[in-house]
Every structure is written in structure tokens, then in C-alpha cells.
Symmetry: C2
Subunit: 579 residues, 2 copies
């Protein structure tokens, strides 16, 4: 078997070493994850505005395809909260919920998203995901958690409402408040309260009662299943459906169907940008989960291959009645904690869900939507974390601005505008920061060969020499800044005979900056002032040698600033004194 | 008079020192510039798709307002080629040429552009113009020159054609080639040939004939006027208008009228983005001209106040029947060379043009459009300069890519897409370059306290110490890169006990990078490896102290890399050897 093939199809690698021990561990993990995924899949389909079976379908083929192409041992792929919210918000703009067009658009979105991810992976462009800074991700996830919780309120209240921003959602709920169904409210509140209790108190309680760790885990993760069973039985037994409690209803008993995404140019045009956004957000979320889990076992994941794995999963979703998927945080952690050793655990989970799709779907007929909404709310509220605001405020106003803007714009204008603005704001703030770089005038730290800022340290200087340490790469955004700065520094100090630009922190000089340096050189020559460079890094020097700057330079290039100091800094006709 | 007012209204400053000598110099310059501007204004109105008088109007109020608010002594403001082309391309999308809606849209475009410039100026956001890198500007100007020349071909051929991209224009001309009017072609070719000859040969010839410098200048700049007069007389005398030669026709004899821009939200929505683009391009063009001319007399301009000056000029154009204006290169150089000392020269030019608007407009009735087209073509072809491709190719592939993309996209998809893509490509290439920064492993240059790349210099190292000099600011785009790099370097070298990150070139550590450093610190601690920092710049250290990284650091922060070397680099139990 050739090596490149194994790189692109990791299952060929780990599959050959698969043994009995790994099999039993993977099987146990699969059982736990399957139990957890059944209600979760139904709930995220509801969140995405799709029929409940779509959630199950979206967890079967994708999980298998990721197991074949992905590199993480523990990542569990399927519908996740944030991506489902993005799906609902995107498709809501091209089709009405409940129509055939809506389901087709979901398939198309998954298809475009999968194709884009595979393309990025093949071109090895995974670094693009880095454009989402940590603060933007943190802000976006927090705001999304709030939006998701708000979007589920209508199911808890039993009213019809809509909207893709927080004000829209709340206003719409307020307008429909007269439709409120108190039995639904009762079910929703009880289910949510129970789930919060399970999350906070069940594990310690079971431990105190002396339950084994596997049983504890199963019971804790089984909380949503219990809520589903209990409320379904209540609705069935008390005939609450006739009291206006909205229920899941008929779910077809079927394996995932073969479906075709719609590929009309109108639909593609409308969904392409959102698909790119969903892909990148899904990828970033998934890779952070996968990296965290891999680091715990000193394993590595390959981000570019992850793109292919997730892309394949989404293509799978597009052709089997699903919607956009990615690696989920909670399901992956459960999978990892339950002892999954290889992606085979994912394959067994898929089998479990396929069985559920065929055998268990009639049982959810009486399941109230309020219960599903309660499981979503309890799950997503753990994503909401405003401490990022405090942390970034303390560290950097620019990062704080990015977080705050992302949160506010996501809540106020919707997920797509929010995250796109977050990225744009991060990039603009970075460019703004580098547009007027820190430039320190430096002098010699006495007794060393080391130069530091004259304003921060006791250093030696001489009036005829100005040494400027430029603390930024020089490129188009700040090229003119340096021109202005040197002009004003040199005209201000009439004794100046030589200017040394210390390039220890200059990592790039682009063509715009080269032209600015040439202009500076020409002006200083006219003024009879020498221009010198010191500590120019190898890659920067290589490039400057290809220009005319070095031969035209009205001065010299010194390997170290100390060499320049020995030439100009030590006064020749007076005894050397420290200033 | 208070100082802040004088800062915002520079005329209050230079106006108080105005004397007789400056007056006479300014008057001479104004006469020369006026003669040059009459045909140029008519021509650029034609280029913008507007009636000829709009060009004159756009040169009167704007030039006066710039004289009041601008800071350049020599800049001449009015319609310029590139901005006129952008105007035509923008307005062509919302109205038909020749309709009242078209003229109103031009006013609105000037209004929005002026308002945006004033806003930027008041907020002191002039640095935004730096986002246009030198290569993008060079590529854009070259491509615009070609587009403008191509757009005038139809007037030379006497055919009707349209289009905003080079292929569109050429195809459209080809389709209308049967309409060709050979008399028009004759006029156009003769006029263009004459103007090329004047540009290349007249000055040397006059000098050889012993003409004085002022006369030489007047005659050389008067070339277009001569062409205008000669072809107008020919059309009138030979009755060529009846042979199908298109002429300028009726031009109202009037001072600039009072006009109101259309401010419907539809129009503003359609024109806002193009207005921003036009403002920034016009500003960049204008500021480079103004800076070049100011440097020749050791004067300075204030870019933020320039925004206000140019903004006022555009607002003036919007209310007096004009269209977007900016500081023009050729007219400013002529103004400067003719001896203009203060912005009063501009005011006198405006008076000259006002006289022309009232008295001379009937004389241009028989002026053939082909002559105006010839003056435009000769003027813009001097903008076309492909050497930027060779220069950037030699220096940097990234800059070359930006130039080439800007040229191709401007020619192929139009000016707006071209320049916007140029900016986007520059920014993306910059982010891409910084996304995988150069990281050098360094060692001690023997006999010094200086550290350089082990791959480029003969340096001392010890196996237990890895010193990495990070040649880039650490921020979200490259935060994960460093994590991966250190992980692989440390696992590869099992003897490594300490890692020193030399931060001499790290000018910023943003919140994303801080989180990555915390992750690196935690991982190295788990592996029993120390993590140290050296040569951390003041501003970076200030910020890191506000985080938990420094207290949690599994190692120390050294002022200089040499301090770190003395601690870890000199083996303690074996005699020191250079490797």
C-alpha cells in the first residue's frame, strides 16, 4: 500500500493494527455515545428547522466517512448546536421551514460546505481557519449559545415565533405570548430543571451512593434519554397532545435515504458564502476539540487532513438526507471519556443510530418538542461564558473590542454578520496596530553589547548618532509612517550626522516599504546625513540585495548594532562619556 | 484668532502673510493653469459621461474650497482622469448617460465622497489610505490609463460604443465598426499625433530656437488649446458637423449653477461604496502629488487636513453642478512649475475659469469630440508604466502578485473590482506571509554577545538548550503555528532541557497568541522542559505582566539572550566547548 494513499485515507493506517482490545473499548464507547446522540440528533434537527429524522440521518453517513478520512481518534461528527443554528439562519433566507425546498437547501448547504472543505484540504489551506482569532471564536460561541437558547424558548412556551437575531426573537415571542400553552410550559420547565439537576448534582450523588464509574457515566449521560422517555410517556398517557402540546409526530422508519442536493445556480449563489462561513466555523470548532483530545494522549492530528475528513462527512450528509455537520465538543468528550480508542467507535455509533432509525422512531411520536428544546437549552447554556470579556479587557483593548463587537453584532444582527464582522474587525485592528509601529530610540546598556530604549533604561548615547529600533515589519500599511517619523526626528536634532535603523524586529520589507526606504535614503543624503542599517535578518537582507537600496545606500549595513556603535557611537575627539 | 481654527482653516494662516510678490507669482501661475484647464475640463467631463460644462463647473468651486481648507501650496484640484473614469463606471450602473438622473447621480457621488472625506479628516483616519499599497496603486493607475484610452477610441473613430472593461469596450467598438466616420478619424489622429509631438519635441525645439522659459512653458502647455482651436475652426469652416463629425454643441453660458445632490436612500445605497472607493483613490493620488511637491520646497502637508480640504472641494462640486474631483498630477505640477506660491493661485485659476464659463463657451460649439478624446489619450498614456511588473517580480513575488492581479482584474472586470481586489489581495498576502513566520534557531557568534541563525552563521550551541528567535509578531493568524513548531522541535530533540524564545522581533502578543503561549508553557512543563523568554520588548512585557503567563511561566524572563546563554548555554559539569 502506497504511503500517500495512507496519508489521505488514515483508516488504512490504524485499521491494519486494529485488535480485540481496541474493539471492546470502542464498542463500549459507541453504546454510551449512541444513547446520548438519539435525543441530541432529534433536538439539533429541530434547531435547524428540519424534520427530526434529518438529525439521525446526519449522524450516520457523516460519522462513518469521518472515521475513514479523519485523523482524530476521538472526534465524534454530527449535527452540533452552532452549525445547526447557522443552517437555520441561512436556509430561512431562501425557503420556508417545512417545505421541500427547505430540506433541499439544507442538503445543498452541506454539499457546498463539504466541497469547500475538501478543496481547502487538498490545497492544504487549513491555515485560513486561523483568521478566526480566539477572542472572536469565544465571543461568537457565547453569543450563539444565547441565540440558540432564545430560539428554543418558543418551544418551551408552546408559541409560534421566528427571527434570527435576539431582538427579533424576543419581540416575536412577546407578540405571540397570548398563544402560551401552560402544559407545554410545565413539561419544558420540568425537563430543563431535571437536566440542570442531572448536570450539576447527579454524578456526585451517584459517587456518594457508591455506584461504579461506568454506571455513573451512563446514568449521567442518560439524563436526556430519561427526560425524553418520561415526558413522552406523560404525553401519551395523559393524552396531552390533544391539549395543544406540540409533539414530534410521525417519523419515517427508514435507513438514511439517498438524496440529491439542489444545484441550481440561484441556490448555489445564495448559499455559497454562508457555506464557506459554516465550513470554517465548523472546522475551527472541530479542530480545537480534536487537538485538545489528541494532546491528552500525546497524539497529533493533521489539520489539512481534518479538512478532508470533515468535508467527506458533509458530502455524506448531503447525499443521505442530512444537513451540515462537524465535530461536536460534548459528544467527542463523551466518546473520549468512555474510552474510544480509534475511529471505529464512530462506525459502531453509526450502526447503533441506524438501528435506532429503523426500530425506535415510532416510539418518539408522542415526544413533546418542549423536551427537545429543554435539552438544547441546557446543552448550549454551558457554552455561554462572559469571562472572556473581563480577561481580554485586562490584557488588550483591541482583543476586547473584537470580542465585544462579535457578541453584540451576533446577538443584534445575526450569526453570519456577527462572525464575519468579528473576523473583519480582528484583521482591521491588527492592521491598525501595525500602521503606526512602536519605534524606540535606543542606546548602549553600559558594560554590555546590548541596546535598549533610552526612555526605559539607563543607556549611553551620543548626539551625532540616532539609532531607531523599528518594532514592526515594514509594509504598505506603515511605510509612510517611517518616512514621516525619520523626517521629523532628523530635522529636530541638528547635530545628527548619522541615522542607524536597527532592523532586529523587522521581519519583512515589502515593495512599498522599499520605496519608502529609498525616499528616506535620498532625503537624508540631501541633508548630508548618513543612513545605516544594523541587525538586518537574513531573509530581509537577501531580498534587499535584489533591490537598488543597498548599492544606493548612503551608509553601511552592520551585522550588529554594537559594530555600528563602535564606528559612530564612540566620540573620536573627546573622551568617551556616558550621558 | 484661536489656533485650532487656523489648523482647520489654513487660509487664515498663510492669508495673513500674503504679499505683493506672492500675488504676482500666483497670478502668472493661474493664467498658465487656466489655459491648460479649459480643454482638460471639457475632456474629463466627456470621460465622465457628463455635458462639457460640468467639467468647467467642477473646476471652480472645488478649487476655491481647497484653497481655503487644504494644506498644499501647489495642489490644483478638479476633475482628473482616473476619478472621472470611476465616476462614469459607477454612475453608468444607476442611470443612462445623457439623462437628468445621470447628472444628479454625479452630484450625489461627489456629495457622498466629500462627506466621507470630511468624516475621515475630522476623525483623523487618514492612515486608512495606506491600505492601498504602492504596487496596487501603480498597477491600478497603469490599468486605468489603458481603460481610459480605450474608452476614448470610440470618439476618435466616430462610433457609438460602451462598456466598463477592456474586453467589453473592444468588443463593442468591433461591433460598431461599420459606423466609422473617416473625417472624425482624420481629426482625431491628427490631433493626437500633434499632441504627442508637442509633448516629446516642442520644448527642446523652442529652447534651440532661443525662446525664454516662460514662453516655452506657455507654448508647450498650450498644445491642447492649439489643437482645440485648429480643429474647431476646421469643423466650422468646412462644415464638417454635417459630415457626421460629432461636436460638443451648445454649452450654456453661465456661472456654476446651484445644484442639489439626490439623497434618496436607493441612490445613496447604490453609490455609497463606490463613493468611498473614489474618495480613497482620489485622496491617495492627491496626497502623493502634494507630498512630492511639498518635499521639493521642504514644506510639509498634513494628510488629515488634506482630507478636509478635498472633502470640502467635493462637497462644493456637489452643489455647483460638478462631479467628483481630486488633486490632479499634471495640473499641480504645471501650477508648481509656473511658480505658484500659495493656494491663492488656485483662487485666481477659478476666477479665470468662471470668466471662460461665461464668455468662451459659445466658442466651443464646433469643437469635435475627437479632439477632446485625443487630449485625454495623450494625457493618460503617460500614466501607463509596466516596469512595475519587472521591478516587483525581482523584489518580491507577493508584491508582483498584487500588481499583476490589480492590472488584470482592473482591465478584465472594471476599475472598482480591480482596485478593491488589489487591496484585498495585498492584505491577504500580508496575513498569509505572517501566518507561518520565519523562526530561526540561533546560537552565539563566538567572541561576541550576539546570536544569529545556526544555519547561516558559525555559532556556538549546546544540545540541552534550544533558542528560537521568532521573527514575527505573535497574533491570531500565526498563534497556532508556534504551538505546532515548538511541539515538534522539542519532541525531536530528546536532550532538550530548556527552550528560550528570543522575542527581539516580537512586536506584539495578542490574546490568541497569549493563550497559545500558555498552552506551550503547560505542555513543556508536563515534559519537564523549561520555557524561558529573552529580549522581550518593553510594550510586550508590560502587557504580558497583566496576564497569568509570567507568574505561571515554567522558567525565567531574561533581559538579554546573552544572560540566558550564561545560565543555560555554558555546560556546567564539562569544560566549555564550541560545537
Amino acid at each position: 500500500m502506497s504511503h500517500p494513499l495512507r496519508r489521505f485515507v488514515p483508516i488504512l493506517d490504524w485499521g491494519r493494527r486494529y485488535d480485540r482490545n481496541a474493539l471492546s473499548n470502542d464498542l463500549i464507547a459507541a453504546v454510551i455515545v449512541t444513547i446520548m446522540l438519539i435525543p441530541q440528533s432529534l433536538a439539533y434537527a429541530l434547531l435547524a428547522g428540519l424534520p427530526p429524522e434529518a438529525g439521525i440521518y446526519a449522524s450516520i453517513a457523516p460519522i462513518i466517512l469521518y472515521a475513514v478520512f479523519g485523523t482524530s481518534r476521538a472526534l465524534a461528527v454530527g449535527p452540533v448546536a452552532v452549525v445547526s443554528l447557522l443552517t437555520a439562519s441561512t436556509i430561512g433566507q431562501v425557503a420556508e421551514q417545512g417545505t421541500a425546498g427547505y430540506a433541499v437547501a439544507a442538503l445543498t448547504l452541506a454539499f457546498l460546505s463539504g466541497a469547500f472543505l475538501v478543496l481547502l484540504g487538498v490545497l492544504r489551506l487549513g491555515f485560513l481557519a486561523n483568521f478566526l482569532s480566539h477572542p472572536v471564536i469565544a465571543g461568537f460561541i457565547t453569543a450563539s449559545g444565547i441565540l440558540i437558547a432564545a430560539s428554543q424558548l418558543k418551544h418551551i412556551l408552546g408559541v409560534s415565533a421566528h427571527g434570527h437575531t435576539l431582538p427579533e426573537m424576543l419581540l416575536s415571542i412577546a407578540r405571540h405570548l397570548h398563544e402560551i400553552n401552560w402544559i407545554t410550559v410545565g413539561i419544558g420547565v420540568l425537563a430543563a430543571g431535571f437536566l440542570f439537576w442531572v448536570r450539576a448534582n447527579l454524578k456526585p450523588l451517584l459517587k456518594k451512593l457508591g455506584a461504579g464509574p461506568l454506571l455513573t457515566d451512563l446514568l449521567a449521560k442518560g439524563g436526556p434519554v430519561f427526560a425524553v422517555v418520561a415526558t413522552t410517556l406523560a404525553v401519551w398517557g395523559l393524552n396531552l397532545g390533544e391539549q395543544g402540546v406540540r409533539i414530534v409526530g410521525d417519523v419515517p422508519q427508514s435507513l438514511p435515504p439517498l438524496t440529491l442536493p439542489g444545484l441550481s445556480s440561484d441556490l448555489i449563489g445564495a448559499l455559497l458564502l454562508p457555506a464557506i462561513l459554516i465550513s470554517i466555523i465548523g472546522f475551527v470548532e472541530s479542530v480545537s476539540v480534536a487537538q485538545t483530545l489528541a494532546a491528552k494522549k500525546r497524539q497529533r492530528i493533521d489539520p489539512d487532513q481534518e479538512l478532508i475528513g470533515l468535508g467527506a462527512a458533509n458530502l455524506g450528509a448531503a447525499f443521505t438526507g442530512g444537513f451540515p455537520v462537524t465535530g461536536g465538543f460534548s459528544r467527542s468528550v463523551v466518546n473520549f471519556d468512555a474510552g474510544a480508542e480509534t475511529p471505529a467507535a464512530g462506525i459502531f455509533t453509526a450502526v447503533g443510530l441506524a438501528v435506532a432509525a429503523v426500530a425506535l422512531t415510532p416510539l418518539v411520536y408522542f415526544l413533546p418538542k418542549a423536551t427537545l428544546a429543554a435539552t438544547i437549552i441546557v446543552a448550549v447554556l454551558s457554552l455561554v461564558d462572559f469571562t472572556i470579556l473581563r480577561k481580554t479587557w485586562a490584557y488588550s483593548r483591541a482583543d476586547f473590542t473584537a470580542v465585544a463587537a462579535t457578541i453584540l453584532l451576533t446577538l443584534g444582527l445575526g450569526v453570519e454578520v456577527g462572525v464575519a464582522s468579528g473576523v473583519a474587525i480582528s484583521v482591521l485592528l491588527h492592521l491598525y496596530k501595525t500602521s503606526s509601529p512602536h519605534v524606540a530610540e535606543v542606546g548602549l546598556v553600559p558594560g554590555t553589547q546590548h541596546f535598549r530604549n533610552i526612555l526605559r533604561h539607563e543607556v549611553e548615547t551620543v548626539p551625532a548618532l540616532v539609532t531607531l529600533r523599528v518594532d514592526e515589519s515594514l509594509y504598505f500599511v506603515n511605510a509612510r509612517f517611517l518616512e514621516d517619523l525619520i523626517q521629523s526626528r532628523v530635522t529636530a536634532g541638528c547635530e545628527v550626522r548619522d541615522v542607524v535603523l536597527m532592523f532586529s524586529a523587522v521581519n519583512e520589507v515589502d515593495y512599498s516599504a522599499l520605496e519608502s526606504l529609498e525616499a528616506i535614503n535620498a532625503r537624508l543624503r540631501d541633508m548630508g546625513v548618513g543612513l545605516h542599517l544594523s541587525e538586518v535578518k537574513g531573509p530581509v537582507m537577501d531580498r534587499l540585495r535584489r533591490s537598488h537600496l543597498i548599492e544606493a545606500l548612503n551608509g553601511e549595513v552592520f551585522l550588529s548594532q554594537y559594530d555600528a556603535w563602535q564606528r559612530f557611537g564612540v566620540p573620536k575627539d573627546v573622551p568617551q562619556v556616558a550621558e
